[in-house]
């Protein structure tokens, strides 16, 4: 178990100092696939490099198995990294690369070769063990980098955007394989990415970061369904935001009569109401819902459904999906008037952020 306690990182000093991390607290469980997700510059890579030992924290602790490892140099930490650039040693063969960590650690030479064979078998690279890394494709290099980091049996495997250099098809395949491998080995993975799809498909839990602070730590499902704030809602998937007011448990939206909410009983004043595009219903629905009128502004065909952009009467824009089943889809046209329903259960009330809270 890795306990990250009020960890901070400051580059430079005085007025020009840059706070890459502002007091981060996370507990990463044993055998978890944990993802650090955020846009570039959010501090996720700095946090990963700190766990690896390449950066020294300005404050806080990194507790692994009850011991603070924050000041231990990288070559004494039971933590290995799969680098974004792979960083394979170009003058060595695949087998030599994989054996490096074991040899540097002083493993008994009789045990090195069997371990190298075993791990190459796991990543399906045994047939290329005598190749130089310069003679391999990106996907193959990726597997070797993975094998090299796994060979010394680390307590935690760190992965720094390892799939970003691969093409889409290969990336999908590697996502699946990484997830499978993590499950089989039962090893803790800490994975850094800026790709929310990748994070959602692979992770047990995701930490969303922005501007050096933690926005939310939760399972993919819970992040999507119950984002803690507007940033998370927008970063994970697509979201519509409608300005509203809550008075005495009733939601007031422009262009609609007030509706009582199930979860909100008190007055909250100005709020932002979030709804995912796929939860907006075209026409009427039997559920308890808010109905709004608008006019179709644009239609974008995308295979299984059509992305509809609707201009509401109050001036805001609402995105929704219209499924391309045989009997629907054809009905919609540019500029057409359209009534939509927002089921009350699908509405998510977020605090209205007037200024940039982060």
């Amino acid at each position: 178990m890795l306990d990250i306690r009020s960890l901070s990182k400051k580059f430079g000093s005085g007025a020009g100092a840059f706070h890459a991390l502002k007091s981060i607290d996370i507990t990463i469980e044993e055998g978890e696939f944990f993802t650090l997700l955020g846009p570039s510059g959010c501090g996720k890579t700095t946090l990963l490099r700190m766990i690896a030992g390449f950066e020294q924290p300005s404050g806080g602790q990194l507790v692994l198995d009850g011991k603070d490892i924050a000041t231990i140099p990288p070559n004494h930490r039971p933590v290995n990294t799969v680098f974004q650039s792979y960083a394979l040693f170009p003058h060595m063969t695949v087998a030599q690369n994989v054996a490096f960590g074991l040899e540097a650690r002083g493993t008994n030479p009789a045990e090195v070769a069997p371990r190298v064979d075993e791990i190459l078998e796991i990543v399906q690279m045994a047939h290329l063990r005598d190749r130089k890394s310069s003679q391999m494709s990106g996907g193959q290099q990726q597997r070797v980098a993975l094998a090299r980091a796994l060979a010394p049996r680390p307590r935690i495997l760190l992965l720094d955007e390892p799939l970003s250099a691969l093409d889409l098809k290969l990336r999908k395949q590697m996502q699946f394989e990484l997830k499978r491998l993590q499950g089989e080995l039962g090893l803790t993975f800490i994975f850094v990415t800026h790709d929310q799809d990748e994070a959602l498909t692979m992770s047990d839990r995701i930490a969303v970061m922005e501007g050096g602070t933690l926005q939310q730590v939760a399972s993919p499902r819970s992040l999507y369904d119950h984002p803690a704030n507007r940033f998370v809602a927008e970063f994970i998937g697509e979201a519509n935001f409608l300005p509203g007011t809550i008075v005495d448990g009733k939601l007031f939206l422009a262009g609609s009569p007030p509706v009582p909410l199930l979860r909100e009983k008190k007055s909250r004043g100005a709020v932002a109401v979030m709804i995912r595009p796929e939860q907006v219903v075209v026409g009427a629905t039997s559920e308890k819902a808010i109905t709004l009128d608008g006019r179709v502004e644009s239609l974008v065909f995308s295979g299984t459904d059509t992305h509809v952009s609707l201009r509401l009467q109050n001036g805001t824009t609402l995105s929704l999906r219209s499924p391309n089943t045989s009997h629907a889809g054809t009905a919609l046209a540019d500029g057409q008037a359209l009534q939509v329903s927002l089921p009350i259960d699908a509405l998510h009330v977020l605090p209205e952020e007037t200024a940039d809270a982060a």
Binding site: F54, N75, V79, N80, A87, F89, F100, A104, R105
Partner: protein, 307 residues
Amino acid sequence: MPHDAPASENALIREETRRRWSLALPALTVITLLSIVPLAVMVAYSFMQAGQYAGVEPGFSLDGWQAVFFERDFFDDSLIPATAHLTILGRSIALALATTALTFVFGIPTAWFIATRPPSSRGFWMFLITVPFWTNLLVRTIAIQEVIRADGTLNRVLLATGIIDEPLQMMFTNGAVLVGMAYVYLPLMVLPVYAAIEKFDFRLSEAAYDLYASRLYCLRRVVLPLMWPGIVAGSILVFIPALGAYVTPRLMGGGRAMMWGNLIDLQFGQGRNWPLGAALSITLTLVVLGALIWYARRTAKKDHANG
């Protein structure tokens, strides 16, 4: 008409070959004029007769080559092996090796220092390294003399600070020759090694640290192997001219210990034996060539053994 196809294909190949040759012609001309022709002249001279007042006279003769390996006994005029030449060759090789080693010791940290500066200031440091090239070799060597001679800068500083009581005799020693040589050839080591370090991807050393390598282990297994081609290039660039050096050994060593370069110089000058001088030059070229071929074969074999 299927049998026509090869004919036109041949014509195409002929045309392509002609075009390639004409493209290579300028470079070939320069190489021929500046490298092959002078070498051919030297080979020809080594098989001719010595002129009475220097130069060569037409006519085939093996006297020059014979004098490389044998000398006439002073008393009975019989041929005895020219062991003096072997001693001189040995001394030249030893000096060239020592020079290479010394430029290595000073050149690697220098190159490392420059290559790890911010890119904007690297140009300045490289400029400082190349400044000595702008000065004549003779002037540079005399400048070194000025520093280490009995009443030179170094002795005066040491005397003034009370570290020594009487001037150190540094000039005209083997150490003086070595210092002079290392000074002259240092840039030739720094430049290729710098190029190798600059190309080095420091993310690789990060990966090595991540995989439990100590600094020394990383240096031995990752940094040095990847810098090796640069080190080899620098060593060859220093070793070869150092082997034939004659100005620096004479000025710094006072001509007491003769080098192969001085021996050649002597034959073309006072000795007035051009065929011998030419034969000695060719011998040196063959020694260098032999060493390079040996090295190339060894590395090829090693690479092969590594798979």
